[in-house]
Symmetry: C2
Subunit: 344 residues, 2 copies
């Protein structure tokens, strides 16, 4: 099997377990409509990359064969059992909560191929569904059975992560109307909005299982690959055919969204706002996008973003030196590579 | 000094300390706009009743003179110092988060005499401000310095409380379009939406300070007085003059909002939706409200609500038997009475 195939199989196996755990940990109960709305986006799909990183991090720390031990009662450094799957569910629940609220803020109609929650239900239900997931994530991470001091540290990590995600989303909105954003400011925003959740996913097993020396390095791994993931998303918006992407290629340019590419191009003197004159993704032509991308290539902005993502992935992989050399550690290396090699 | 005056002085003293602590625990930092929006409603005022209940509960449990010891380093049952003021701030932060999101859902323009956050700022900022306060409340309650096992229990109480508040708000919205709601269903909604935060406020000091035997009784005290508080709010909407109330008397009737009074009246065969024909609070007359209130009095619905609130307050006070007999315990008794004696 190809390396890509092996990763995909591992991710699929983890996804299956995470999905089953979500069903267990977030049952539909009274009031049903609230819980159905809370589960709606989780049921619509998702790669479950972040909880997968968490489970693989646990496997590697414990130095066991991937998936060979039950994640619900996983051996900690002191041999006590810890339910790391609960923590994985918490991470995915937080991700889902942020998507529901972000879709309201961005007035996006579609997510994961289905109507956004505020479209399928209504604004109030979407706000409440997000709020419910928020506290459910905290409730869930208190169910791991880890000793109290580690639970407190895990919950602290999760709470700080959520605050930072809000800060990142706030900066993202601020940047929409900002004349000048530097690459450093953009990368700070991405770190807060996107990367901290990968950092929490990678480091939580070290916290919960009592591998204190590995916490900081795994956190750094997550920060690096999370930022690379977002930059790759920005690149794919420009380089992936519309059919593969599932939305209009170049939509970020049409919507004047800041990306690492446009932020760099503006520094090179490019009139980024004038790159695409079409007012909406419905009216833009592929030729216009082609021309814009050619300009961004000419000034080196595409290569700058690619190089930044590559550098972050290499840095992220270096941090994995803290883990024992094993299959799960290799898989975390491969996931880092995959994040910038993926084509959609 | 009258008993009422003494309570008001105590509440004012606690409010002052809570306000100072909010300034310390929730500073405006980068990104400034987000933190300013998060603090906006907290700065607009509020009685701080819930954090006051928390601080008085701590004073009574420790059996010390009210306000005689610093709440930032308050003696636990085992003589360790615990920062109960951090927990009080968490409770007020949660209250503020729910108000910000509720105002969006109810499309309310004014809160505490100032524009609601989504009016003063915008929808996205209001959602994010609420989300930020949410995680800040959890971060804050981790700063009490209590032993880890008690912190975990406190966190668990706070997370469960937040989930229940969401469930209550969801039921409240559901009831707006429900043909028939029983008094039991209404009281369940009020318990979830309003009373659980009083329950958390009253019981958190027992958890954090290690008075385990008092946790359940103080929780029950909070549930009882919290429900009574909401019923009194419903009564005041009908009985307090518009000028004193700060909004149109009878607005709940105009807006077809379910209250314990209307739920009871419907059971008595009253056509509640037809009680007031005016479509908005701008067009309703005082005479129309007077007639509606007279009907509700005739069928005993006003007295039913008053009696229910009285019964809950008596039950709540009974639960305070778990506390040593002291000044703070008496003050918690008085607060229970005050909640149904207040006129606005």
């Amino acid at each position: 099997m190809s390396r890509q195939g092996a990763i995909e199989e591992t991710v699929a196996r983890c996804r299956q377990q995470v999905n089953a755990a979500i069903d267990e940990d977030l049952p539909v109960k009274h009031p049903e409509r609230l819980y159905e709305a809370s589960r709606y986006l989780l049921e619509a799909g998702g790669k479950r990359l972040r909880p997968t990183v968490l489970l693989l991090s646990a496997d590697s720390l414990a130095d066991v064969e991937m998936g060979s031990l039950p994640y619900r009662s996983f051996p900690a450094a002191d041999r006590r059992d810890v339910d790391v799957l609960s923590a994985a569910v918490s991470i995915e629940i937080i991700q889902s909560f942020t998507l529901i609220h972000d879709d309201i803020m961005d007035d996006d109609d579609v997510r994961r191929g289905v109507p956004a929650v505020h479209r399928e239900y209504d604004l109030s239900t979407a706000i409440l569904a997000g709020d419910t997931l928020y506290s459910k994530a905290f409730e869930n991470i208190l169910q791991t059975g880890a000793p109290a001091d580690r639970s407190v540290r895990a919950l602290s990590e999760l709470a700080t992560t959520c605050t930072e995600i809000c800060e990142g989303q706030s900066l993202d909105i601020e940047f929409e109307n900002a004349a000048e954003v530097t690459p450093e400011e953009y990368l700070e925003m991405v770190e807060l909005k996107t990367a901290v959740l990968y950092a929490a996913a990678a480091s939580l097993p070290a916290i919960l299982l009592g591998y204190n020396d590995a916490v900081d390095s795994l956190h750094s791994y997550g920060l690096d690959i999370g930022r690379a993931f977002q930059i790759q998303d920005d690149l794919l918006d420009l380089t992936t055919p519309t059919e593969t992407l599932g939305k209009q290629r170049g939509s970020d340019l049409v919507e004047n969204k800041q990306t690492l590419i446009t932020v760099h191009a503006r520094e090179q003197g490019v009139d980024v706002d004038g790159l695409v004159s079409a007012e909406s993704v419905e009216t833009v032509s592929e030729a216009e996008i082609d021309d814009a991308v050619a300009t961004l290539e000419d000034v080196g902005s595409i290569e700058y973003a690619r190089e930044t993502a590559r550098r972050l992935v290499e840095s992220g992989k270096d941090h994995l030196g803290v883990l024992p050399e094993n299959e799960a550690q290799e898989c975390l290396v491969s996931i880092a590579d995959y994040l910038i090699e993926r084509e959609y």
